[in-house]
Structures are given as structure tokens and as C-alpha cells.
């Protein structure tokens, strides 16, 4: 396979702090709404967990909203999304019904997996969302396989494969990088570097902490991106998707981000200081950032933002109520969906 010897670079994003160029009022307002929807949804999920309605593990996406939303902005019909267990936000932006996502969290018949997957395992073939995977790193090979299918079919689709800074240390990530570049597969690897894998900071786990460089030995270009800036995410995603879609192979985006909440609901919170979290919330919050842009440009006054907030709250309240009253799955569900019956 011919491959240009030069021009394959692994770089830090060029200086222009992306923000601005080519964002319309409607786009920005739509992103604001989506990000707010994720945040309010997650806050409510946290509350339902506290009330005992959600069980098991529940990993909230609060703080990372700009990434899912910014990537979604460049997705085309047929493109796939796959991620790990911190998946609620991704599903909402992929267009899954907040009711069925919340009802899956409560393990009810109305859930997207009819209560059989739970927080970490949700899917929607309709929305091109391939999970929701509980094994750290597994989604990287699977997402590369989605790209293999795209390449096999020459359908022009791109697989957006999300994983964490912790997952970036798994061996299968590099096995997948190698094959993706070798076969020029249309996959964009989005590393959500929120600085921690459970309680282990990236410095304590990684000999190379600049994760965008991790593709270097496979000749995969990579960029570092401010994952708290939805416009920067969108712009980088557009470059990456174009690269992958045009047959040049995989691309790595390292999103610098932060999770405000504990790893899952039960978290000793001893591995970082409250000041550190506060600092990010106060100065780098992705939603505040969009709000500032909107008011700077005079694109939305307080009343307009309040209206969005009220709409989002109503959606979340409705989803929570649905998730509360939706019945538990029928006992007969225990034995369904183990095998596809022949002829299906």
C-alpha cells in the first residue's frame, strides 16, 4: 500500500483557538440545548440513583458534554458511534429517546434494551449507536470493526470510536490502531482524556501522557483538542472525519476534558482535591463557555436561555417519570434474546 512518507504528522492543534469561525446562531443554540440536556439528564440520573431507582454502576458524563455534541455535529447518516460505559450523553446526542435511556437506567421494560443491559450496555441500531460496552478498551476493536465493515462495503461511512485515557493503555487499542492504518479504515478515534481512570491520574498510569501521540508508531495523525470548547471539538472532528472519509485512514483526537463527578456514583473522591474540581467548573465549564459566546454575540438573551432550560427540564422530568412508572420487564424476558431464531 502506497503511503506518503512525509506529511504524516502528529501534532498539537495549531494555535487559533478554533472558536468562532463558521458557527451560526442556530447551531450554537442547538449545541447549548444538547449540552444542557445531557447535564440535566445526568443530574437527574444521579438523583434517581440516590433514591435507589438506578442500581449497579452509573457513570455520569457531566463536564464532558462538549465532546459528544461537537462530534455529533459532523456525523453523517450511516456514520457509527461506539463508546464505553460512560454512554448516556452519547446516546442522547445520537437521538435516542431520553425516556428509553432513563428507563434502561432504572431497568424497566421501557428501556432501550428492555431493562437487560443497564447503564453500561445500551444500543440503538436506528441511531447508529453501537454501545455502551463495559470492558475497558473493547469498544476500540469493535469500533475499528465497524470501520472494516464500512470499508468492505465502500459506503463512505465513518466510525467514531470513543474511549478514555485509561482505556488508552489497553493492548487491543494498539492492535486496532495498527490494522486501521494498515488497511486505511475510516475510523476516528476520540480519546476522552478526563485526566483520570477511576482514581488513577494519567500521570500515574501513562509513560506518554500526550495521548494524541499514541498513534505515532502506526503513522496515525493525532491532534490535541480543547474538549471543553464545543467549537474546537467540532472543527477538529471535521478535519478528522474528512481524513477518514476520504480514504486516508484513521485519525486520533485527544480531547482534553474533565469529569466533575466521581468515576461512578460510589467514589472515594480522595485522589483529587475539591479545589481542582472547582477550578475547572468555574473557569472551563463547556456549557458556560457556550453561554458566554451566545451573549457576546448577542445571539441569546437571558429569557431565551431560560426558555431552553425550561424545555430541557421538562424533557428530563418526563423521562424520569417514565423511567419510574415503566413496569419491570416481564419474567419471561429472562429467556429471550439469547439466540437469534433462525429465519430472522
Amino acid at each position: 500500500m502506497a503511503r506518503p512518507a512525509a506529511g504524516r504528522k502528529t501534532r498539537k492543534a495549531a494555535a487559533p483557538a478554533a472558536t468562532d469561525a463558521g458557527v451560526s446562531r442556530d447551531q450554537l443554540l442547538a449545541w447549548y440545548r444538547e449540552m444542557l440536556l445531557i447535564r440535566r439528564f445526568e443530574e437527574r440520573a444521579g438523583q434517581l440513583y440516590g433514591m435507589g431507582l438506578i442500581g449497579g454502576f452509573c457513570h455520569l458524563y457531566i463536564g464532558q458534554e462538549a465532546i459528544a455534541v461537537g462530534i455529533q455535529a459532523v456525523r453523517k447518516p450511516g456514520d457509527q458511534v461506539i463508546t464505553g460505559y460512560r454512554d448516556h450523553g452519547h446516546m442522547l446526542v445520537c437521538g435516542m429517546d431520553p425516556r428509553e435511556v432513563m428507563a434502561e437506567l432504572t431497568g424497566r421494560a421501557g428501556g432501550s434494551s428492555r431493562g437487560k443491559g443497564g447503564s453500561m450496555h445500551m444500543f440503538s441500531t436506528e441511531a447508529g449507536f453501537y454501545g455502551g460496552h463495559g470492558i475497558v478498551g473493547a469498544q476500540v476493536s469493535l469500533g475499528t470493526g465497524l470501520a472494516l465493515a464500512n470499508s468492505y462495503r465502500s459506503n463512505g461511512a465513518v466510525s467514531f470510536t470513543f474511549f478514555g485515557d485509561g482505556a488508552a493503555n489497553q493492548g487491543q487499542v494498539y492492535e486496532s490502531f495498527n490494522m486501521a492504518e494498515l488497511w486505511s479504515l475510516p475510523v476516528v478515534y476520540v480519546i476522552e482524556n478526563n485526566q483520570y481512570a477511576m482514581g488513577t491520574s494519567i500521570e500515574r498510569s501513562s509513560s506518554e501522557t500526550h495521548l494524541f501521540r499514541r498513534g505515532a508508531s502506526f503513522r496515525i495523525p493525532g491532534e490535541e483538542v480543547d474538549g471543553m470548547d464545543v467549537v474546537a471539538v467540532r472543527d477538529a472532528a471535521a478535519r478528522a472525519a474528512e481524513h477518514a472519509r476520504s480514504g486516508q485512514g484513521p485519525y486520533i483526537l485527544e480531547m482534553k476534558t474533565y469529569r466533575y463527578r466521581g468515576h461512578s456514583m460510589s467514589d472515594p473522591a480522595k485522589y483529587r482535591t475539591r479545589e481542582e474540581v472547582e477550578e475547572v467548573r468555574r473557569n472551563r465549564d463547556p456549557i458556560d463557555h457556550v453561554q458566554e459566546l451566545l451573549s457576546e454575540k448577542g445571539w441569546a438573551d437571558e429569557a431565551a436561555l431560560k426558555a431552553i432550560d425550561a424545555e430541557v427540564r421538562a424533557i428530563v422530568a418526563d423521562a424520569a417519570e417514565f423511567a419510574r412508572i415503566s413496569p419491570e420487564p416481564d419474567p419471561s424476558e429472562l429467556f429471550t434474546d439469547i439466540y437469534v431464531e433462525a429465519g430472522r
Binding site: 433514591m51 476493536s141 465493515a149 493492548g171 487491543q172
Partner: protein
């Protein structure tokens, strides 16, 4: 007005300490504001406001220990000026009940029932073909028939297969459909599963199943479980195939039999053929099956020739055992290479006046329990033969089935023949001692016949 409740940090938490309040009566709070900290012996958590409003009252002072989950700890009033009514206080809801399900007596996925007392014919006629070529023909025919079927694995293309099973496929189908992978079992198994989730039908060849241990996470966690976890949305029509079990003198790391490992997993089908007709017919059925199938071959059988029907649509249904030799005195169950040993043992026994019935399991999951049980009802004695280890093994499952379903028909305690409970040794004499042999099968059969 909304009550803020003491949250649970984990599903098992019943009470905790309200360590600190970050707000006081009269404070306005917004969604996401940290309002309090709670602690248990295991974890600390910040409580965030979910709704907007003004703190009307702190109901539990800071420092209070043993606060029960769901106790109101503060009261929130509507935010001044918004007029927005906060949602009504949700009544405390008991955690979801544990449904009372009576699982079927055997808590396994439904398996095909066999009420037909007549076992399928044990002989086929056709062209003499090696198991190796039968497997190749099966793949080639299915690839011609269905454009979404492709083969991937180490050395499957240019090298023509480490054991020459894929001979000629690259030439016929090209590099798009016969994909040489790097030596990355975990990765390429994951790619295969991802491609299957996207609707293709990959055949993933493992050079041997020993190396699939690096990929077993994708076989089990990704391929077998996703249909269930997605409520039936994501299917995974994939075949994992390759040689399984002991070749000759390759020692412990290259000789393991994984039959029992995979046969335990709901969501997988597991097939282990003996002769060429079954190898071909079952592989074609496996490729057409919409579920993930683990297809266990045997290196020692690749070169053996058998008759294979010429019918280009020859398939063998997954889930049916085959009575390879009828007999009235003792049932011998076996799969894969062990079928050959069982047949030889039956010859030896016949000369001693004992007619053994040899049941070739062919599929390990779903296991054709009915054929086994019916056979035992005829012979009243059973010896199971497997190449792998006996603890928790295929024989253990068969004996349990027979004990549960044909107890009253048994005239002797069942016996299991299996590999010695050791890693497989290299030395020729020790290797022979460790693996099942015709002699050991004969001896066991005589024993259950009290001879």
C-alpha cells in the same frame, strides 16, 4: 416545594453521615451546585442540587451520623422570581422487587427437543474428501453464495492457511474477502465482532484455539452477550474457527481442548465435527447461522478422508447428535477426534461380545440431550469420552444429564474418560499416558458392563 433526600452512594448503602452543609437557609441554589457532603466508611460524595430554588430549611444538621437513605435532609422552595413550580416531591420508592421467576428445571437456553426416536442415518455416500478440503469447500461455497461472508486470520491468504485449510481462497476471492491479519488475536477478533455487528458475516480463523485465549473476551463478552444486552437489537453472525485440542508432541501451551469452556456460554453455539461430511455441512450451517458460532476443528483429523455428499447445498443442522454405530450394551459419547477412538473401541468391544452405541455429539451447545438420554435408555450404561480435562467438563454435563433424566434406566455408575488432570507433557510416553486411548475406553466400557 421539594424535599432533598439523603442519597445512596451505592445500591447497598442504607445510611451515612451528613458531613457538611455548603448552603444555609435562604441560599439560592442552581442545578449542579454542591450543597452538602455525605460520607460512609467506603466513600464520600458531594450532593448536588438537581432543581433550582431557595433553601427553605435544613432538616438534618451537619455532623449527623446514621442518616437513613431517602430521609428528607433539606427543603427547597421555588426560586424567587422564576415562579417555576418545582416538580412535586417524589414519593420514596421501594427499590425494584426481585421478580419471582421459576427457571426451567435446567436453567439453560431452550434446546431443540427430539421426540423422533429414530436416530439420523449414520452413513453418507459421496466423494472421498479430506476434512481439510471439506472445510475449504464449505467456506468457498458460502462465500460464492453470500457476498457478506469473508475470512480473516493469520496466514489465511498468501500462505494458504497455516494448516492449508484456506487453500485457493485468496486466488478465487481476492484480498478484500480473504484478509491476512497481523498476529493480534485480541484485536482482530474484536474487529471481526464489530464487522458482524455492522451486518457482515466474518469467519475468523484462529491458527489454533490456544491463541484464542487472547481473544476470548471478545468471543464471550462482545459476541455472545450483546444480543441479550441490547434487547435483541445487535446481532453477531460470526464464526470463530480453527484447530482445537492436542496435535502431536507440541506440549501444554499448544494442545488445550476448549470444548467445555465455550460450551458453557449462553449466546454461543459450539460445534465440534468428526468426519468430513459433518465438517462441511456443519461449517456451512455455522456460516449461515445468525448467531456467533465457535467451530472447533482438530488438526489430527484434517488429513483424514471421508465420503462427502456432492449436493452443493449439503448442510448439517446445528444441535443434533448422530448415532455413528448402533449398539445395545453400552453408550459411548464423544466429539471431534474422540469419535474415531470411540468407534475403534466399539470394534474391539464387539469382538468381546459387547455392542457399543457410539453417539457423536457434533454440537456441544445446544447439546442434543435427547439423543444421549434415549441411547442410555436403550443401553443402560454410559461412558463419556472427551479429549479435555474432566473436572467441570463435557462428560460432567453428560453424566449430570443422564443422572437427571435416565436415572432409573442406569445399571451402572457412568464413567468419564478424559485427559489426565495435568498440563499436557511433551515426552512421547507421557503424552500417550495423558490422552484418552482406545484401551482406556475399552476398559471403561467393560467396567460399566461389569466385565
Amino acid at each position: 416545594m421539594t424535599d432533598i433526600l439523603m442519597p445512596a452512594l451505592s445500591p447497598t448503602m442504607e445510611e451515612g453521615t451528613l458531613a457538611k452543609w455548603h448552603v444555609k437557609t435562604g441560599d439560592a441554589v442552581r442545578s449542579g451546585d454542591v450543597i452538602a457532603e455525605i460520607e460512609t466508611d467506603k466513600a464520600t460524595m458531594e450532593v448536588e442540587a438537581v432543581d433550582e430554588g431557595v433553601i427553605e430549611a435544613i432538616l438534618v444538621p451537619e455532623g449527623t451520623e446514621e442518616v437513613k437513605v431517602n430521609t428528607p435532609i433539606a427543603r427547597l422552595g421555588a426560586a424567587a422570581g422564576t415562579g417555576a413550580a418545582a416538580p412535586p416531591p417524589a414519593p420514596p420508592i421501594p427499590p425494584p422487587s426481585v421478580p419471582h421467576v421459576t427457571p426451567p428445571a435446567e436453567a439453560t437456553a431452550p434446546e431443540p427437543s427430539h421426540d423422533a426416536p429414530t436416530p439420523p442415518a449414520a452413513t453418507v455416500t459421496g466423494r472421498r474428501t479430506t476434512v481439510r478440503d471439506a472445510l475449504r469447500d464449505a467456506m468457498a461455497e458460502e462465500m460464492r453464495r453470500d457476498e457478506t461472508v469473508f475470512l480473516m486470520g493469520e496466514e489465511v491468504g498468501q500462505y494458504q492457511g497455516a494448516y492449508k485449510v484456506s487453500r485457493g481462497l485468496l486466488e478465487e476471492f481476492g484480498a478484500r474477502r480473504v484478509i491476512d491479519t497481523p498476529i493480534t488475536e485480541h484485536g482482530f477478533a474484536g474487529l471481526g465482532v464489530g464487522a458482524a455487528m455492522a451486518g457482515l458475516k466474518p469467519i475468523v480463523e484462529f491458527m489454533t484455539f490456544n491463541f484464542a485465549m487472547q481473544a476470548i473476551d471478545h468471543i464471550i463478552n462482545s459476541a455472545a452477550k450483546t444480543l441479550y444486552m441490547s434487547g435483541g437489537q445487535i446481532t453477531c453472525p460470526i464464526v470463530f474457527r480453527g484447530p482445537n485440542g492436542a496435535a502431536a508432541r507440541v506440549a501444554a501451551q499448544h494442545s488445550q481442548d476448549y470444548s467445555a469452556w465455550y460450551a458453557q456460554i449462553p449466546g454461543l453455539k459450539v460445534v465440534a465435527p468428526y468426519d468430513a461430511a459433518d465438517a462441511k455441512g456443519l461449517l456451512k450451517a455455522a456460516i449461515r447461522d445468525p448467531n456467533p458460532v465457535v467451530f472447533l476443528e482438530h488438526e489430527m483429523l484434517y488429513g483424514q478422508e471421508f465420503d462427502v455428499p456432492e449436493d452443493p447445498d449439503w448442510t448439517v443442522p446445528i444441535g443434533q447428535a448422530l448415532i455413528r454405530r448402533p449398539g445395545r450394551d453400552v453408550t459411548l459419547t464423544a466429539h471431534s477426534r474422540m469419535v474415531g477412538l470411540a468407534l475403534e473401541a466399539a470394534e474391539v468391544l464387539s469382538k468381546q461380545g459387547i455392542e457399543a452405541e457410539v453417539v457423536d455429539l457434533r454440537t456441544l451447545r445446544p447439546l442434543d440431550r435427547a439423543t444421549i438420554v434415549e441411547s442410555v435408555k436403550r443401553t443402560n450404561r454410559i461412558v463419556s469420552v472427551e479429549e479435555g480435562w474432566s473436572p467441570m467438563g463435557v462428560g460432567a454435563e453428560i453424566v449430570a444429564t443422564v443422572a437427571a433424566e435416565a436415572f432409573d434406566w442406569l445399571d451402572a455408575p457412568p464413567l468419564r474418560i478424559a485427559q489426565a488432570d495435568t498440563p499436557l507433557p511433551y515426552a512421547a510416553n507421557l503424552e500417550a499416558l495423558a490422552l484418552p486411548s482406545v484401551d482406556r475406553i475399552v476398559e471403561a466400557a467393560l467396567k460399566v458392563c461389569y466385565r
